[in-house]
């Protein structure tokens, strides 16, 4: 498919080059003089004085104008083509270099100022002679030549790679290890030793569930000599509901998930808030826990509203909920320019789909052809038509007012109607009661003065009470995407849309039929005639011959296990991304992943059961000096826990963790539920999680940064939540271990670190306990617990 499209593009490109030559044939007779004039007098001016700001090759085209190719000026910039061959006085370029009063004056002061008179004359003569420009332009698709695009690694079909042979056959435990070790042997690096069982269990438990192992789990694993012991641990962890909660958070980073705009429940605006976003978060947790095949996971998020219910129900809630992926996006909600909001929504959707699923920065082609990857503006607007033919909003709202999100019922229409009927009856009854109350003079309200009206009223009240008892539950809603364009917008139906010149809906170019990017999906695409085309787009993203999708997800999973991906720019597999460190391994894993039914749990198992994953974090020999970034994986990369596991671990060891799953998010970190259920608000960066480098919900986050700053330490030292966990942990130690301080300390270490304290550590701890004063053991233990919760060992993973 890919090949075919490239050939086609090449043919077209060749035709147009030929066409150009033929078109210019009449002037060939003069060509020698003209092209000499160009080379000698014109090209140097263009190179020295213009191309700093007007060069397609350098990616700098001020005013949209490129002067480094003939195509550049023929196409022109924002003000149209600057050269009218044969007519220097009508050419904007000549007017500009002459510093005409009304119009641009080029080159500007900071570009060295006005050209010399002889230079201006040379340019004018060149234009007068017909602006002969012998510079040939390479045919390009967006930022690549067809050749480059065809050879680009990420667009290649998945290659079947056999695990390579290794010199030390004892080390590998699975195929992954052959790939890793073969390269280590080539680099003359020795893998690290195996992590001890305590370390491995702590690593695996945080990795899969985001929580620390319990002392009992540590002991069970440490004393289990069975060679399959670790496999059973991995299976147990994958089966735990905490797995979905942990890995959902990774996914939510990539899809720019937020629970709300406004962190303050009192000031939220109902019509446009993300009130039902949590259903999507819960759906992701559930999808991961049930190991829904990844291809279906993808299709649900792009086109779930178009999927039939697998159980033939009228409504398919999961499908509707999953499309919140598209509606929980980033745009300026308050923009009074409603058309701009719509075009920003479309852009957000294209951008997040490209990055999330395919590692493509499709959004870059909104205003101009992609500067680096083979995506054209036409491709972009062909995709844009799909999203302009869908809508996220129910109403745009008045100018200056807020819009209203779609909220789609998750129950059949009859249930919705029944609830509405009840609500109507209730409203009617209440109105009647109110009328009676108003009609009656107030003195009649005195007790005992019963009249005929009172009996009526009592009957009505009884009726109302019964109605309230029988009232069906509120209708569950989802912020789902729906087919059809935005009502009241420029494109209100299912339709193709025109190219927006430089991204602006106010400047429209030719209409582009809805379709997939040509370079990737080929020229011969079936037209999108049924519906918006979202379903076709989704199906193509997970199609067997699209190599990007499995590569991208396998790489993400690898990154979330190891700290860095095989491709270290996980959302950009294009030219500006990094190349894979182990292309064969990436393809091997991707191919296996697809062959084994797109199962993420199988992929986790495959990775975690490898010797590579189970290495210690301390390198053998000089491996960490020779490979500081750990590209070759001759050790496990030790790391700090993320914001959520740090907080969850505190709650877990203090015994305070409330493991209730799902539902709307809580307001702040003082709740006792897992951090997944503490709200992320787009307008608030002051919360706990952001301080510890949680993902910015205003952009797709491919990888979190890790910062270590004093405000984090201040929070751990002084925040009431942390102090409370320290007190609770102390209380737990005092309650559960009734004997001496030594036994309590051992239990504390087993709880927090999964090990026993050393003598030196015992001495430090006793120092704190003793200096805390013997008369208040609770306070002294709370101080010690606080120190342990702040310790590096508690927040770092080996």
């Amino acid at each position: 498919m890919l090949e075919q499209s490239l050939h086609q593009t090449m043919r077209i490109a060749c035709r147009s080059v030929l066409g150009g030559l033929i078109g210019w044939a009449p002037s060939l007779a003069l060509a020698e003089d003209d092209s000499q004039h160009f080379e000698k007098h014109v090209r140097p001016i263009l190179v020295d004085r213009c191309e700093a700001c007007h060069s397609g090759a350098k990616g700098k085209t001020s005013g949209g104008l490129a002067l480094d190719t003939r195509d550049g000026w023929v196409k022109g910039g924002d003000s149209g083509p600057p050269i009218v061959p044969g007519k220097p006085d009508e050419s904007l370029l000549i007017q500009a270099v002459r510093y005409h009063d009304d119009g641009p004056q080029m080159p500007p002061d900071e570009g060295g100022g006005k050209l010399s008179e002889s230079q201006i004359a040379a340019l004018a003569e060149w234009v007068a002679r017909g602006a002969i420009d012998p510079r040939a332009a390479a045919a390009r698709i967006g930022g690549m030549t067809p050749d480059e695009a065809r050879q680009w690694w990420a667009f290649q079909p998945l290659r079947k790679a056999e695990p390579p042979a290794v010199r030390d056959p004892a080390w590998p435990r699975c195929d992954i290890d052959n790939f890793i070790l073969a390269e280590l042997e080539k680099q003359q690096l020795a893998p690290a030793g195996m992590a001890d069982r305590r370390t491995l269990l702590r690593r695996a438990t945080f990795d899969l569930t985001g929580l620390p192992p319990t002392p009992a789990e540590v002991e069970a694993f440490a004393s289990d000599a069975d060679p399959d012991a670790f496999e059973r641990v991995v299976n147990r962890l994958l089966d735990s509901p905490a797995y979905g909660e942990r890995w959902a958070r990774h996914w939510l980073d990539v899809v720019r998930y937020a629970d709300f705009y406004d962190a303050n429940p009192a000031t939220r605006t109902a019509s446009c808030e993300l009130t039902e976003a949590w259903r999507y978060r819960d759906w992701v947790v559930e999808a991961l826990n049930s190991d829904i095949p990844y291809d279906r996971f993808v299709v649900h998020q792009i086109a779930g509203d178009l999927l039939p219910s697998p159980t033939c129900e009228e409504v398919y809630p999961a499908g509707l909920i999953a499309t919140t992926f598209l509606s929980n996006g980033v745009w300026d909600r308050g923009d009074a320019d409603k058309e701009k909001i719509i075009s920003d929504m479309v852009d957000d959707n294209i951008d997040v789909i490209g990055k999330t699923f395919m590692g493509l920065t499709l959004g870059c082609a909104r205003c101009h052809d992609h500067k680096f990857d083979p995506i054209t503006t036409e491709d972009y607007y062909a995709l844009a038509g799909i999203f302009y033919s869908s809508h996220i909003l129910k109403e745009l709202g008045a100018k200056g007012g807020e819009y209203t999100m779609n909220r789609v019922p998750l129950v059949p229409a009859a249930v919705v109607a029944r609830r509405a009927e009840f609500e109507q009856q209730l409203a009617d009854l209440n109105a009647c009661i109110k009328k009676l109350d108003e009609a009656k003079p107030p003195e009649n309200n005195v007790a005992g003065a019963a009249g005929a009206g009172d009996a009526d009223r009592a009957a009505l009240v009884a009726q109302r009470d019964q109605l309230e008892r029988e009232m069906p539950p509120p209708i569950p809603l989802a912020m789902a995407v729906q087919e059809g364009g935005m009502p009241g917008g420029l494109f209100p139906s299912i339709q193709d849309v025109p190219i927006h010149i430089r991204g602006s809906y106010a400047k429209l170019g030719p209409v582009v039929p809805r379709r997939l990017p040509k370079m990737l999906a080929g020229d011969d695409q079936p037209p999108m005639t049924s519906g918006s085309g979202r379903k076709q787009l989704a199906d193509w993203i997970v199609a067997a011959d699209n190599p990007l999708t499995p590569r991208v997800i396998v790489n993400r999973v690898w990154q979330w296990h190891f700290g860095a991906g095989l491709v270290r720019t996980p959302s950009n597999f294009g030219k500006l991304g990094q190349r894979p460190t182990r292309p064969e391994l990436l393809d091997y894993l991707a191919a296996k992943f697809v062959a084994e039914g797109w199962s993420l749990k199988r992929l986790h198992r495959r990775i975690m059961l490898s010797a590579t994953y189970q290495q210690a974090s301390l390198a053998t020999g000089d491996a960490s000096v020779r490979d500081p970034e750990n590209r070759w994986l001759a050790r496990f990369s030790a790391r700090r826990l993320e914001a959520e596991p740090i907080r969850d671990a505190m709650l877990s060891v203090s015994g305070q963790l409330d493991q209730t799953r799902g539902g709307p998010a809580g307001d702040d970190l003082t709740i006792r539920r897992r951090s997944l259920y503490v709200q992320t608000a787009r307008w608030d960066r002051s919360g706990y999680a952001m301080l510890f480098d949680a993902a910015n919900p205003d952009a797709s986050t491919e990888q979190r940064t890790v910062s270590t700053v004093a405000p984090q330490a201040l929070l751990l030292l002084n925040h009431p939540f942390v102090l409370e966990q320290a007190r609770q942990l102390a209380a737990r130690l005092l309650k559960e271990v009734s004997s001496d301080d030594g036994a309590r300390l051992k239990y504390a270490y087993r709880l927090l670190f999964g090990r026993l304290p050393s003598e030196d550590e015992v001495a430090v701890a006793r120092g704190i306990l003793q200096s805390g004063g013997a008369n208040d053991p609770v306070a002294a233990w709370a101080d010690l617990a606080h120190v342990l919760l702040c310790s590096n060992e508690f927040v770092y993973l080996d």
Partner: protein, 471 residues
Amino acid sequence: MSSEVTISRRQALQRAGCGFGLLALADLLAGEARAGTSVSDDRAAHPYAVRAPHYAARAKRVIFLYMPGGPSHVDLFDPKPRLAADNGKPLPFEKPKLERTKTGNLLASPWKFARHGESGIEISELLPHTARCVNQLCVIRSLLADNINHTGAALQMCTGEQAFSRPSIGSWLTYGLGTENQNLPGFVVVCPAAVFQGAQLWASSFLPSAYQGTLVRDPKQPIANLGDPTGDLARQRAKLDALRQLNEMHKRDRAIESQLDARIASFELAFRMQRDAPEAFDLASESAATQRLYGIDSPVTDLFARQCLLARRLVERGVRFVQLFDAPMNNAWDHHNGLRESLPARCLAVDQPIAALLTDLKARGLLDETLVLWGGEFGRTPTAEGSNGREHHPFGFTMWMAGGGVRGGMVHGATDEFGWHAIDNIVHVHDLHATILHLMGFDHERLTYRYGGRDYRLTDVHGHVVRQILA
């Protein structure tokens, strides 16, 4: 592989040095010693260590006095006799298509303007104190922004981008320069009320979070989690000593020593911040005369006076970027109605404190190296909204700069005779940003950060330094 260890930015970030650690302090001292030469580029280990800019800077610090909502240029800094002459008549040319709501006819400014200082710059009677400082001001009457809504326009003014998340000016500058006091945050935002777009206006976005603005809502509670100042510091010291000992034991035989060291240092710095920050934020230690100068004695000026005085104390202590929002409530300067009553009230609240800040900075010899910037996300329409208001107006409006490297006592640029379009020496927001970076010693095209596979900068692909206003 060469024996020279190279560390990528990503890796460097993961190594994630301590914000303001002991090592950073050492770096800082070293950095000061060789100021002007190249300073450590290891931002990950020492994000706040002092760094040299591209070339000699004209200013070392910035105070941005931000008036959220959009102050009315035609009522404050850009007098238009033609508005008075044509009061009540329609604007004689077509308004731009970009429009929020339809405004009515031209509305003369209800206030008088007078010439001030040697330069004779005209300033509204609403700002008598500011007018006295006119010789320090470079009044730019030709600002141009792209967005007509608060959210987009404020984002553009603070980050250069209208819709998407980008690092703010203060984040770029602390990323570029580090900061001079390792015991205080490098970028402080004082914003009493929640404003539109909130934290996005001072976010570090894709820059490491160390460069995010530290929000101070209430100058009495300056930095989050500073703890109880009356608490038992000796006991806390004992706990920190124990923590340090345990962390040192944990560090043995571990490969990621620099990360672990950084975290140890971060606790030490936190301890020092607890100690030093209250002093920096303690306005009561200022003399009564100074407090009066700013207007701390009057309920009208008290809030912004405290903000301004705090700004001076912070820059004096080496904080790199201070952004003050005049925000007793959201959008205090958004005068759609009640212009005749509310605009004078806002001016009363900020005028004296701002003049005091300029005077005080100058008296202490700080103004030469401190760039002070005043303005909002846009101006307001010369036409009336209702009978007593003005709409949003990004097509031509006024900001002023003072101090470090800027020519005082000058007017730059102009709007047309109605105050509608900037027509002369237009200064786009991107140009303003390029100029701020220039004054701080940066080529705005070279202060970049690679993210998601491309290099980003404050001015995106735009911006020209406004050379005419440089001293």
